[in-house]
């Protein structure tokens, strides 16, 4: 497949859901409303690309993924996977993609890992011998060979997620749709999954569409990212390109000992500070306007709150900063 060939193409893709809002306790006390989950998304993802789809909850990420994998019909617009229309040629589209949806459901817990893979291999039309070979390869690659014949109910969450990814590339599709593959995993398991996904993309030349809430993950893995907000693609580009959009902003990380309880809130009120947050390691992270955020006023604020700065680090904005910057616009 040509590298410039769009494996995914969407044109003015729209999806409207009809929802019923309750207006009272009785079953008929409700009114019908329409919610637009996608409001005209245009997107092209090229062959071999690792594309990250970001956005807050309800932004339309899963809706887009479900349309692409034919689980959902678009209201307007069109989309193609490897040149096949997702509505008119759904059968061919399903052959071209492998899917791992959010969460550890989706596997038969009373079957072993290998039995699960063999079942799905048959649904993809693989002959028995070929299915066995591919299942073994997938299990080896995902590091599940030694537990392949255990029931899935005995697997850890991380193992189930690895099995879900093994399932997605069993039939060797050119495109993988991975919907939050590291959600709910501990850092070690998430790191293992990320390494495996990278290996899949690099060794087997897969095009990957990854949806994630984890912005560090997207920054680390993706060639390009798209940010969805309220059904619209508000940013599209490489992480470096997107970061240039916030070139007028800077990040300051402070290590404060002892850290007063109201410090983060106090820092957030300073002139030029856009966002202040407490990090898991106890540090305080400030995102602000380069020209307006004054280090002196930060020091004064920390002193006034009764803290003492032990370390200051100046950083470039991350993809996370871009994300929040765009969402706040």
């Amino acid at each position: 497949m040509n590298a410039d060939f769009p494996v995914i193409r969407a044109e003015n893709l729209q999806k409207e859901y009809v929802v019923h809002r309750r207006t009272g306790p009785l079953p008929w006390q409700r009114r019908q409303e329409s919610v637009w989950a996608l409001k005209g998304v245009d997107l092209e993802i090229r062959h071999g690309e690792f594309f990250g789809l970001l956005g807050p909850n309800g932004a339309g990420k899963t809706t887009l993924v479900k349309i692409l994998c034919t689980l959902l019909m678009p209201t307007k617009g069109r989309a193609w996977v490897a040149g096949r229309d997702v509505v008119m040629q759904e059968q061919q589209v399903r052959r071209m993609l492998g899917v791992a949806l959010t969460g550890e459901r989706g596997m038969y817990w009373k079957l072993t890992g290998r039995e699960n893979l063999l079942y799905y291999a048959a649904l993809y039309g693989l002959a028995s011998r070929e299915a066995r070979k591919r299942a073994q390869t997938a299990l080896d690659l995902m590091g599940l060979s030694d537990r392949a014949d255990d029931l899935v109910e005995q697997y850890s969450t991380g193992m189930r997620q690895r099995l879900a990814i093994a399932r997605s590339f069993l039939h060797d599709p050119p495109l993988l749709l991975l919907d939050e593959p590291t959600a709910g995993l501990d850092p070690q398991a998430a790191r293992t999954i990320r390494a495996l996904i990278v290996r899949l993309q690099q060794e087997f030349s897969k095009t990957i569409l990854l949806t994630t809430h984890n912005l560090h993950e997207a920054e680390q893995l993706c060639d390009r990212v798209g940010i969805l907000r309220e059904g619209q693609l508000i940013a599209l580009g490489t992480p470096a390109q997107l970061k240039r959009q916030v070139v007028s902003e800077a990040v300051v990380e402070l290590e404060v000992e002892p850290k007063p309880s109201g410090l983060t809130a106090a820092l957030a009120t300073l002139a030029g500070v856009i966002r202040a947050e407490s990090l898991e390691n106890g540090q305080v992270r400030l995102l602000g306007k380069k020209d307006e955020m004054v280090l002196d006023s930060i020091l004064q604020c920390v002193n006034a709150e009764g803290g003492k700065i032990s370390r200051v680090v100046l950083k470039e904005p991350s993809l996370e900063d871009v994300f929040f910057h765009l969402l706040s616009e």
Binding site: K15, Y17, V18, T63, K66, C69, T70, L71, L72, M73, Q91, Q92, R94, R95, L97, V99, L101, G103, R105, G106, M107, Y108, W109, K110, L111, E115, L118, Y119, Y120, A122, L123, Y124, G125, A127, S128, L151, R167
Partner: protein, 276 residues
Amino acid sequence: MELLVEARAIASTCWKDLLVFFRYPLRTLSLVVEPFLFFVPFIIFGAMFAQDGSAAGLAAFVGVADYASFVVTGALFWNFVSAIFWGIGLSLREEMVQGTLELAWTTPARRFSLLLGRTVAHLITTIITTGLMGLGFTLLFGYRWLGGNLPLAMTTLLLSLVTLYGLGFVFAGVVLWLKEPYAIANVSRIVLGLLCGWLYPITVLPEWLQPLSLALPLTYAIDLLRAALLGTRTLLPLSWELVILGFSAALCPAVGYLLFRWLERHSRTSGTLGQY
């Protein structure tokens, strides 16, 4: 080639369901014991109205006085109705809850193959449990059927199964659409049980109910099966009943599957396919 791929999907779905089924040993056991125990009280209840094992009242309606065999034939057939009519939809519901439905739906296997594979597994387990039930009734309650017209019984069963598949597709579609299969299954079980006469001849129903009963193909299926195995009198001439059942066997699967596809498309449009 395409046929081979679909056959593989059907066989694999059936194999998967059987594996899962036999990995719940207590559920397997209850599937044999529960229907048997459920039907036993009806047989005992009937004994109350018989003299020396002969139910004169029943004989007046159907020409045969063996109430136990009359009920057992209906009960054994009812097993197939439960497995196929409601079984497809209920197993779809299980897949929704497990989260496996959407993933199976992202594969290129045809929906028809996924549904059929599921029901083949149900059919296999139902044949086993019905056989064991029949054996139990024969040994414990003197169920007599061996002297019957087996070719007619097999033809009736085959046509009935094809009809039931069609009805099962509709129920599966309704499950995808409404998400709440148990209320519908319970009500339809009671209504069908009341109307199609697995427990009694439908001629004992109030006159205003009988037209409804006669509109159901299952009524003729049970009636023909009893006529074949026990020699009972049929409601309509036997050949008419066979034609009606044959007609419903030709019509129901196609109409049922079209309805299922329509409701499935509706679920994919409303975004409720995987919801439960």
